[in-house]
Subunit: 725 residues, 2 copies
């Protein structure tokens, strides 16, 4: 555990601070105040050129004056002052720093150079640092809040790493109100030195952290990120929000930290591969993380919904079903038991709808317990447990008629009662291992909302949100069930393939011609359509006779990318006469283009299921694979999923289920299901070809045909070479 | 306006009330209290068998004792008491009622009979009523709250009609906190008499209502609903949440009010056709309605985002782009002006990121004004204006250092300042007609949140929500631009078609055979593939010679639905020899099936773009059309959009853009764009065929082929007859 560079940074026994003074309106002071006035037990050493004390602590004018080598130094001083101080601190042996100061790579070229300088110094002294341009860290385990905002947080179990400082600071009050508490929170800033991979690895190892949430605008070390996340996500849930994918989001992100964004659909695939649950909004990121940190995972997808009104019941059910749950019909026996509890016009079906009801015992304890004990559901949603908030609302109107106690006394009594009641419920559910999430439109003011929070039951202000959060629990239950990944050692590059690529590059080609591209793929065992190259009619006919009609003839040149449009393709050639005519026509077209008469003569294969398989290199991720619907529909439907290479067979198999049109891969309209293992092997192999041949910039196999018998054939392929794409 | 039956019901001058007493724990009393203790100026007449007064008002033991004929009667009395009272009240001339009482159709058969009885009575006395099993109404215009929950609402401009009572009651506190105020709110209950169509029409006419929101679990009068919504949505925005579409949602809804649910994708289409914006959650329904009621529509999709942090800026931008906005690069001139205001490390690009900053003037006034005045943006999102909430959080930590005023005094000063500042901003934006939505993580506690609300600027607790709400404004701006619908008078049924259908029915057929189906479509001008029926080889060859090879031969029987699987199809027949062989083979297959040797001999047409066009009758909606991707991909991709017939050409044209694969309809991979007007005419005609021939249960045209030249051909068609589907 101690190897992670963030361990010491997050749990320092002593902190030197550069940039705090006694002026409360300065950012540095506001930041330091939160360390000093919190419950942090470690030493605090302000460095200040003139002040004798800062915030009541003795200040040090020079690094040399420090009484010990601090575990950590925090900078909130002007950008040009950071490097000189860092150098001095490095010299005395300080190993960790947080550079909150802005004005580095995110600003301009001069800032970028300053950032490089920090890294050079860090490297000289084996220092590691967070930032610059971050907002600090929170470690509730040791009551350390090194951010600019006062923290009311208790010790929690939700770990955050964020590429935006806001979510570590401006949301603190918001989270406090909702009862969401951090274990650790890390603002990553420009990621000049430590980055989100280090933070994820740290949070994965951190025992206080039970669920991890990530706010992401771009990932630099993509492959490392995936490797870490795959390991961590088998033990701990990881959720992520990514907002760099749209054009606008990328622009916004870039101006912020200069992080590396990529298309939205790439990150969709990366998260799936990594075992990370993607959410769309910051609200879901916090709330679903909270639910995952606090509730057990459902053992199945049988959901019970309990509500005090049909509308919220229907809405929760609708969203739960989208999330993969189903609402089983409850047994007659169970429905009978329920009917004895609820009004005659209420519903004992699932959702159980008690309708508007003043007896909260029923909805908040008796019915959930009945369902939990029945063994008929794996998870519960409870909407509408409310008492004091409703009472407060009604009291002004009915108080004159009410001959009982005053409002305050009623509320106090109800509060105690609801706490006991919910504690009992939570205890029983824990025994059964059944997760429960609640919703109510009285999110903050009601005794039941408070009691739920206290019992670690997440409460939402809308039924749809409760259902979606439970959906993330179900997603994670499935991630835990992922097949193990057996990564191979990669493949050895074939000398013939290496030679082909080298020759093409030497020849000034931006791509291999189609025949060579398929030949290269065949060298690695991909099933290509039978065929050969012909330079004259005689050769063409000989090839055709050997492989059998019908035949396809195509002009073969690396310059001819859009062969159909150029008139270089003749399909469905039935006999020698037709072949000769087609050869003549295509050869003439080639000649017009200044190309020699070189044609691919291939078996005509058919099938109505066309796939595509591609490889593209993305900054930060290297070779990535795309797989999806091919042929004429590729562009119109854009039904494609991405992964980062290398890809184990198990990961490639997951990819097959990641496209909308996955049904085509099954037993479909009288056609046999695709050979899944073979398809996975092909996908995985293309990834390994990309790693074995870094000179290849792109591979595009389209169509990859599924035959009526489920077999696979590479019908057309393009291999683009580096520096030309 | 006065014709709408809800006008009198919503604005009564006098109310009789059945079911209130002086017991404050009874639902009826709680309900009546809200009428009596509110500011409602009308008369209140409790009917009670024994009490002399109810809630301080003289009570009447008998209907005959009432001092006048009340405009409205409200029932919260036990179910069996409602009918007798209604009868008596009908006799004296009462015309409107609200039946809040439950225990009718939603409960059991006896309840359903009770409900029918209410309708019979109403019909006898020309009465109209809401409910039963509803929760009442709210009309803030006359301070009438006839629900069970106390209302803190001010007069607002958001009109709600809801098939769940919760959203008219349990959400009142929630809405009050958010500053969202109703004009009118209507709980529809079982819709035995008045239904959502009446409510929508009423809200459309109501001058206080500027935006309409609907919570829907099922629609009974589908066609009427669409007609009303199309009219209303040209003047006023309508938003809807529908949660009956999933299996679970439908079940939940059904147990609640017995409403008619339909598949989710059907409602998607219905809402598009009706000009209704669909939202997924109750939170969005209220919030987007609020934004539409309060803010002007953007004149274009150029969005300016102003933020105090990169993360929220990126997230807002990401979601705004998904909603159809784009973030233009600001001009050099404007960026220079911005740079003079913001810190050096901040960003003057769009999003304008002022970074964490204590001067709120900048983010909440100066920068928005600069953008609004520039003419470079059509809409604004503002994230992070905050002051007192932040101060309160920081104050405990810095108060000892702060030599200024106490917190309360600071806050009061700031509150006044923020109100003035935001009022100025709102005024300027109003002049420019630029909508603004705000977000902050200090949703409830901050002076700026309060000031925004006061200035009619919606405030959200997350940047994504602000962006999505603005997205609904943009959607509505586009709905306002819809082409006018020129509904035709329908088509006259062709005698030959009528005869074909009648003969088939008489013959006991569940469907027309393929040839007849296409013949029927051709009678209404649909472009079918050339061909004819042959009973022997000679006829077949004659037909083929006439239309020219290649030819397709298909066995023709209404019993043969899956012709390919039955071996009844021969494609791509090149000559007479092949045709004769195919004829013999198919005729033999037909004979095996006990069918006569009847074959369709047709032109072989080809094209890679295959569409489908269907007609199905849905309960509540009648004839509905489905249009989308056809051929082998129909089932795998389910890329289909629905509309309700009849359909004008303008509506059919909108349908073309409603499928994911709409790109296929354009100029695509060297193929010409489809003839859009012709396609729209075909879609519209199929709708009219359905209306002209009620005996037709279903029509399925698949494929409807797009030729390389953009032409359209019906290649295969199925016409299913009523009572057999």
């Amino acid at each position: 555990m101690s190897e992670n560079p963030l361990s010491l940074l997050m749990s320092p026994r002593s902190i030197a601070f550069v940039g705090a003074s006694n002026n409360p309106l300065k950012m540095g002071t506001m930041q330091a105040v939160n360390i000093v006035n919190g419950n942090f037990k470690g030493a605090f050493y302000p460095l200040h050129p003139t002040e004798k004390t800062v915030l009541g602590h003795p200040a040090f004018a020079k690094v040399a004056d420090l009484p010990e080598v601090p575990d950590l130094v925090i900078f909130v001083s002007p950008a040009p002052t950071v490097a000189p101080y860092l150098e001095e601190l490095g010299k005395i042996g300080v190993k960790r720093a947080i550079v909150i100061t802005a004005g580095f790579r995110e600003m301009d070229e001069a800032g970028a150079r300053r950032e490089d300088e920090l890294n050079a110094i860090a490297s000289r002294y084996q220092m590691r640092f967070l930032g610059p341009n971050c907002i600090g860290i929170i470690n509730t385990e040791i009551s350390l809040n090194a951010t600019v905002v006062h923290m009311q947080q208790n010790k929690g179990s939700l770990g955050l790493a964020s590429q935006s400082g806001t979510y570590v600071t401006q949301t603190l009050g918001y989270l406090h109100k909702k009862g969401i508490c951090f274990s650790k929170a890390i603002s990553l800033g420009n990621e000049a030195n430590l980055n989100i991979c280090d933070a994820l690895e740290y949070l994965g190892e951190d025992e206080q952290t039970r669920a991890i949430i990530l706010y992401i605008e771009g990932i630099r070390e993509g492959r490392r990120f995936i490797d870490i996340a795959q390991r961590v996500s088998r033990r701990k849930p990881i959720l992520a929000q990514y907002s760099g994918g749209s054009q606008a989001g990328a622009k916004a992100g870039k101006s912020h930290t200069g992080a590396m964004a990529g298309p939205d659909v790439l990150y969709d695939g990366i998260f799936a591969q990594a075992g990370i649950i993607r959410v769309d909004t910051i609200e879901d990121l916090f709330a679903h993380g909270w639910a995952l940190a606090k509730q057990p995972l459902p053992r199945g997808n049988r959901l019970g919904v309990i509500t005090n009104s049909g509308g919220p019941g229907a809405a929760a059910s609708h969203h739960a079903e989208i999330s993969g749950f189903r609402l089983p019909t409850l047994s007659g026996n169970l429905q009978n038991k329920l009917r004895q509890l609820i009004p005659a016009h209420a519903s004992a079906a699932n959702p159980v709808d008690v309708t508007f009801h003043l007896d909260v015992n029923l909805i908040a304890k008796e019915i959930p317990l009945l369902l939990a004990n029945s063994g008929e559901v794996d998870a519960l949603i409870l909407h509408g447990a409310m008492q004091t908030a409703f009472l407060e609302q009604a009291f002004p109107q009915v108080s004159s008629l009410h001959k009982g106690e005053p409002l305050e006394k009623l509320i106090a009594k109800y509060e105690k009662h609801s706490q006991e009641l919910v504690a009992d419920l939570a205890e029983a559910l824990k025994r059964h291992g059944i997760p429960l999430v609640a919703s109510t439109f009285f999110e903050y003011n009601d005794n039941f909302s408070a009691a739920f929070r206290q019992a670690n039951i997440p409460v939402f202000d809308a039924p749809e949100k409760a259902a979606r959060a439970l959906g993330s629990l179900w997603k994670y239950a499935n991630i835990r069930q992922r097949a193990p990944f057996a990564h191979t050692n990669g493949l050895t590059s074939q000398p013939e393939a290496t030679a082909m690529v080298a020759a093409a590059r030497q020849n000034g080609q931006s791509a291999l011609d189609e025949f060579s591209a398929k030949r290269l793929l065949a060298l690695y065992g991909l099933p290509i359509v039978p065929g050969n190259i012909a330079s004259n009619k005689g050769q063409a006919c000989a090839i055709a006779t050997k492989i059998g009609y019908p035949i396809v003839a195509k002009g073969c040149s690396w310059r001819a990318l859009h062969k159909s449009e150029l008139g270089l393709v003749a399909l469905d050639i039935a006999n020698e006469r037709e072949l000769k005519a087609a050869f003549a026509k295509i050869a003439a077209r080639l000649e017009q283009m200044g190309e020699s008469p070189r044609l691919v003569i291939e078996k005509m294969v058919s099938g109505s299921r066309e796939l595509m398989l591609g490889m593209t290199r993305f900054a930060g991720f290297g070779a990535c694979l795309s797989f999806g619907l091919g042929g004429v529909f590729t562009e119109a439907l854009q039904d494609i999923t991405f992964r980062c290479a290398p890809l184990s067979l198990a990961e490639a198999l997951e990819m097959l289920d990641g496209i909308r049109s996955y049904k085509l891969l099954g037993d479909y309209r009288g056609m046999a299901a695709v050979k899944r293992e073979e398809l996975a092997r092909i996908i995985s192999t293309v990834g390994e070809i990309a790693l074995a041949h870094p000179e290849i910039a792109e591979i595009d196999i389209n169509p990859l045909l599924i035959g009526a018998d489920g077999s696979l054939t590479v019908v057309d392929a393009l291999v683009v070479l580096e520096n030309y794409s």
